[in-house]
Structures are given as C-alpha cells and as structure tokens.
Symmetry: C2
Subunit: 227 residues, 2 copies
C-alpha cells in the first residue's frame, strides 16, 4: 500500500511538471507574440490556455482523491495539501499568459510603440522563475526555492523601471495613441509581475514542504515599493 | 471524537470569518483613504495588513493540523482542503487592500484628479463580494455563491468603463501630472478587480464544497474582455 502511494505521488508530480512546462511555453509564446506582433500566436496562447485550465482541474482532483482514498499521513499529506496550493498558483500563471496574449491583440491594432523596453527581459526572468519554482517543489530543493524568491526582487525592480520609462514616454509624446500603448504595456508588465509573484508562492510552498515552516510574509512585504 | 472534530471545524470557520471581516474593513478603509486623501488611514491599512497576514498563516496551520491529527474523511477533508484555498484567496484580497493604500500614498503627493469616477462604487461591490463569498462558503450556500460570481461581471464592466474614462482624461489633458494620476487610478481599479476575482474564487470553492464539482473555468474565461 505504501509503495503504491509513492508511485501515485510520483505520477502526480510528473503531471504537475508537465502542466508547468506547458505554462512556461505559454508565457514564452505570449511575449513572443507581443515582440513579433503575431496575432496568430497570441490566439494560440488563448486557445491553449483552456486546455491547461482543464489539466489543472484534473491535478487538483487527483490530490483530493488521493487524500480521500489513500489516507496519507505526515509528509505525504503535507505534500498533497501544498500541491493543491502550488497548482492553484500555476493556474494563475497560465491566466496571466492568456491576459498578455489578449492585450497583445489590442496592442497589435495600434502602431508599434518603439521600445518594449525591458519587457522581454522581465518575461524571461518570470518564465525562469516558474521553471525553477516547479523544479524546486518537485525535487524538494529549498536552496533553489530561495533563489526563486530572490529573482522576484529583480522582477519587481524591472517592473518599477518599466513603469518609470513608459510614463516618461507618455509625458513627452503626449498623444492619445502613445498614452494608450504606454498604458497597455504597463499592464503587460503587471501581468509578468504577477507571474513572478505566483512563482514565488510556489517556491515558498517548496520551502514549507522541506522545512515545515511557512516562510511567506517573512520578507517584509510592506516595505516593497509597489509602483 | 467525531463531535470534537465538528467543534474544531466550527471554531476554524469562525476564525476564517473573523479574518474575512478584518479584510473587508481594510478594503473599506483603503478606498476611504483614497477618497478622503487621508494618509494616516492609508498607513493604518498597511500596518493592519501585516496582522491579517499572520492570522491567515495561523488558519492554514490549523487546517494542516486538523488534517494530520484528526484523520478527517469525505466532506470534512474536502472542507479543509477547500478552506486552505479560500484562505489563500482571502490573503490576496488583503494584499490588494494594502496595495491600494500604498498607491493612495503616492497619489496624495499629487493634486487631486477631479473624478475618482466609479472607483468608490467598484470598491463597494468588491467588498460586498468578499463578504458574500465568505458567508456562502461558511454557510454552504451555493445560490449565494452564484450571486457572487454574477457580481464579478459587474466589477469587470466597471473596470472597463473606468479604464476608458481615465484614458479619455489622459488624452485631453495631456500633461505629465494627469498621466501619472490617471495611470495610478487605473492600477487601483486593477487591484479592486483582483479582489473581485479572489472573491469569485472563494465563491467557486463554496459551490465545489456543496456540489462536489469544480466550477471554475466553466464560465468562458477566454471570452471575457480584459481591457
């Protein structure tokens, strides 16, 4: 019975990683569609998001079934409870990729605002955070999870920098079009920020899983500048 | 033993509602501090947010302890697993109230942009969604939960309307100051939108609890306009 549960948990983790890889690809493609002004690719991300949503519902379902039928105790129970939360965060990463693709479709109806500034760099960081957070979670690697939380600070710095630079553009080229494009790019940077936040949450859950303590709220959230 | 678990679950639900009431008050106060340009109140929301964070960690801790020590089955197990998720969403509502208070402190350094448009109305709707979602969750009232999901559509409509109106302001009074204030108000409306989203998630969890099926993703997310 014990071995059977081990095997079921291993399958569950593998499924979780598979969904994670699909979410990473969605983030990549959403930002690629923005950079390349590729409506077809943006639409693909939106369609693919619905598939990912379904897989995530299945994972949660599997967690609840294992809880109910296998009577897991101690660390297995904690794994399942934490996986429900991590899966919830992964689902939100997917939502944000879809939001970026939807906003790209809007932006592609307007002329290009020359600089995407550091948005592609911010996207690459956010995508890597998701990958590393999932790996840290599945491999129970608290050190890697802590690296993810540190990367979130870089993402937040980029968010602030992008915000300032886009505002400056909007100030000096104060035409309706520039304002619209600037605001849409600011909102895309917020979607990326949220992906970083969710990846951090997954990483914090990984640390909880390994060390049995809840680390969220310990970095002083309130001190962070949310500009 | 069985009765003992019932009592522990009732206490847990009561704690959850207490934290929920504190979060509702934070949302109220954050928007009040915006409307009244009250920096003291905004700072209070930011300080209070840290307390609420701690209470939420305690609730999750209680859920995990009950899972580990009481070996709950069937509906009790489902309640605990779902409460972990709902608590997670409530925590995010609190984060959003703190974000609004932080952004209010920024806005209060600038002259008032005359209209707050429908932001107070949007805030009132979002706050009510949180209240009703928690009541629906604790009282296992699927009908009330469905009402919450419908209210989310109103919140999204207000978000779109506010976005359009603020862009128009920014177009026609294209001064740096107007752009800055307009962008900050747009971001506040996004924080309120996210409160509505989290309340919807809690409501969907309430429906899951009552009816045993996962309703999220069933309303066609992808059709929604995220402008």
């Amino acid at each position: 019975m014990e071995r059977h549960l081990d095997q079921l948990l291993a399958e569950l983790k593998a499924n979780f990683l598979r969904v994670g890889a699909a979410v990473e690809e969605s983030i990549d493609q959403a930002v690629h569609s923005l950079v390349e002004r590729d409506n077809g690719l943006a639409s693909e991300v939106i369609r693919g998001g619905a598939d990912i949503d379904r897989w995530e519902v299945e994972i949660e379902d599997q967690c609840l079934k294992l809880m109910a039928t296998q009577a897991p105790v101690a660390s297995d129970l904690r794994l399942l409870a934490t996986l429900i939360k991590a899966n919830y965060d992964l689902e939100r990463c997917n939502d944000q990729a879809v939001n970026i693709a939807q906003r790209t479709l809007v932006l592609n109806t307007m002329p290009l605002l020359k600089p995407l500034i550091d948005i592609p760099r911010m996207a690459e960081l956010a995508r890597r955070m998701v990958k590393d957070a999932l790996d840290a979670f599945v491999q129970c690697d608290a050190a890697m999870a802590r690296q993810v939380c540190l990367m979130d600070e870089q993402v937040d710095q980029l968010r602030d920098q992008i915000f300032r630079e886009l505002l400056t553009y909007m100030h000096f080229a104060a035409q309706p079009d520039t304002v619209d494009r600037g605001v849409n790019l600011i909102l895309i940077s917020r979607h990326l920020e949220r992906i970083g936040d969710h990846a951090s949450n997954i990483a914090e859950n990984a640390i909880f899983l390994v060390e049995g303590r809840i680390v969220r709220h310990q970095k002083e959230k309130l001190a962070q500048h949310d500009n």
